[in-house]
Symmetry: C2
Subunit: 215 residues, 2 copies
């Protein structure tokens, strides 16, 4: 499963890349730089092409977090990403909103950046436990640390584990799939390519071949 992290800030360019890549990707992940620049309506436009995961890394009190999730789902998002670190009450509040829309909740375990090891590493095993208990859709785990992906996937049981941090950020697609990841999130390597459609096809074929080998 290839998820496109559509981290451009121009709405028209975002739609163009989404169209060019759509037959090779499973979902589009959108983050705040795009949504703040192009307006929340971009979520609706993209969700007409592919399921959209709103990567809002929600990390607020339950009341505010549920409002943010509500806005994402009313604009067509299929899933939202929440920081488990915000606590079980926040995750529960977002999940209640998601359930009304039959939407998915993904919890961040550790950021793929270096700083993800400073504080989040100390909490991530407990966040995985909470995710399993609360039966959310999946977990976001760092492709930059495949050994952690393996540990997280083992503890995550049947929850999906999807991983950002490959290619531009340094992670290896093969290592991460070998570690048990169910999906790979790719951003810059695709949207900065002169031919995003071809690049998405190439990466998706690579993922498919590794999944056959390791799953």
């Amino acid at each position: 499963m290839l998820i496109l992290a559509l981290d451009v800030t121009d709405g028209e360019r975002a739609v163009k890349i989404a169209k060019e890549t759509s037959e090779h990707i499973s979902a589009i992940k959108v983050n705040y730089p795009l949504v703040l620049s192009a307006g929340i309506e971009i979520v609706k436009k993209l969700s007409d092409l592919k399921p959209v995961i709103a990567d809002f890394k929600i990390a607020d009190i339950p009341y505010t977090s549920s409002l943010i999730a509500e806005i994402a789902f009313t604009h067509g998002a299929r899933g939202v990403i929440v920081h488990g670190l915000a606590g079980s009450d926040t995750v529960k509040a977002v999940k209640e909103v998601a359930d009304r829309y039959r939407g998915d909740v993904y919890l961040v375990t550790e950021l793929s950046s270096k700083g993800g090891e400073e504080f989040m590493r100390d909490c991530s095993d407990r966040i995985v436990e909470m995710a399993v208990e609360m039966n959310v859709a999946g977990l976001i785990a760092p492709a930059t640390r495949p050994e952690r992906v393996a540990e997280i996937k083992k503890a995550a049981k049947r929850l999906r584990v999807i991983c950002p941090g490959v290619l531009t950020q340094g992670g290896s697609i093969e290592d991460v799939l070998k570690a048990g990841a169910d999906g790979i999130i790719v951003g810059r390597a695709i949207y900065n390519s002169p031919t995003p459609g071809e690049e998405a096809m190439r990466i998706n074929e690579l993922i498919t071949s590794f999944l056959k080998k390791y799953k």
Copy 2:
């Protein structure tokens, strides 16, 4: 110091409340529900009335976090709120953007909600240390736990400590100022009042009298 948490989702209502309360508040804190509903331009409109703190609880990898901060500051924000939990690289990336705009960075220590005790409590003392080392403008501490405000203020040294969680969320303004807080964030008690201006005046006078007593 009274900061208005302007957590309504209607842009016109937001501007109306901001105008009515502006002479009794020091700053306006805006969060995603308002910005996603009304568009990022609302930050500019409100910043023409009062300094705006963009409470985006930024908690992403450094690259994405710096893009979010850049959008806040180019739209007139005076400060941004970041989750220290994201790691020192993320805080550094945001601070570099803020410094270019002579803007302020505030780090969340623990959310004021119950869930803020589950994971964040284990990291918050280290986040305060990081904030002091990196010389950010201030810290966000939970008014719902005044004993934590006192500990955080002691460790924060000369950094400002501002606290959400009073009134509707249960915290006492007097307890929090007695614990050493420099500012109080009030949302629902003001914007849900039939007379927001009068309520802001009343709360601001209360804060001023307690600050005289305890500072």
